[in-house]
């Protein structure tokens, strides 16, 4: 994983003010932020919504419930990582097709455009949520800079 991949973490893409009743409302809200900033294409919202319906991304980790929605690179303009700590947990379906609900108190939208470093980042990211102290640190952040700092520390 290169330093460039870590640089995808940006305090401009950490949001604490999102309210959404479900994943699809969240995607609508994120589109308004990510599209004008040049990260995603016009096709993104439909693509990620369809993808989430078919292959949900909620994960019940030992340390807390999260979701890692993502879609195919063709819908992206450039790579990014967007982190949302919603005002209230957002219901997602669990990954793996069990039909269970996950109440995501952190949503990490991975704008992955290629194989390689960014996937390695996903693996490291999952490592955070298997470690109680690291996960608690991340879940407790309440500023964009703090969130980026915490993730950068554990992903480096």
């Amino acid at each position: 994983m290169s330093a460039d991949d870590i640089k995808l973490l940006s305090s401009d893409l950490v949001f604490f003010d999102v309210e959404a009743a479900d994943a699809f409302e969240l995607f609508a809200s994120l589109e308004k932020r990510l599209k004008p900033a040049g990260y995603v294409r016009d096709t993104w919202r439909d693509a990620i919504s369809t993808r989430e319906k078919s292959y949900p991304t909620g994960l019940a980790c030992p340390t807390g419930q999260i979701a890692i929605p993502h879609t195919d690179p063709v819908n992206l303009q450039r790579p990014y990582i967007c982190i949302v700590k919603p005002k209230r947990p957002i219901p997602f379906k669990a990954m793996g097709g069990t039909g269970e609900d996950v109440q995501a108190s952190l949503v990490i939208n991975l704008g992955i455009v290629r194989d390689g470093g960014q996937v390695e980042m996903l693996q490291k990211l999952m490592g955070i949520f298997m470690d109680e102290a690291k996960a608690a640190d991340v879940f407790s952040q309440d500023t964009p800079e703090g969130m980026v700092g915490a993730f950068s520390k554990y992903l480096a």
Partner: protein
């Protein structure tokens, strides 16, 4: 040579994370050199699984696959990981 198929929605993100864990599992259980892993999008899984020994996926099992299916999500969350590992070893050590 056993053929292991690892799949997720796109064949890029979570399947790669799961693939690394499965490799570690198989190698540490004496299966090094006795298997090949194919990583793919779940849409390609039915074709890839036609001659496979096992499908490990972070999605539900697609219709029409004949080989055993194991849910790969425990390799991401660690919850239920021991059981998933055992299922895989049971299939591949036969």
């Amino acid at each position: 040579m056993k053929k292991v198929v690892v799949a997720c929605g796109s064949g890029i993100a979570t399947s790669t994370a799961v693939e690394a864990k499965v490799k570690d599992l198989l190698d540490s259980n004496g299966l090094k050199g006795e298997y090949s892993i194919v990583k793919c999008a779940i849409g390609e899984a039915p074709t890839q699984c036609a001659d496979a020994d096992i499908l490990i996926a972070t999605t539900a099992a697609p219709a029409g696959i004949k080989c055993p299916y194991v849910n790969g999500v425990p390799f991401l969350t660690t919850i239920g990981k021991a059981a998933a590992e055992q299922q895989i070893l049971d299939v591949l050590k036969k």
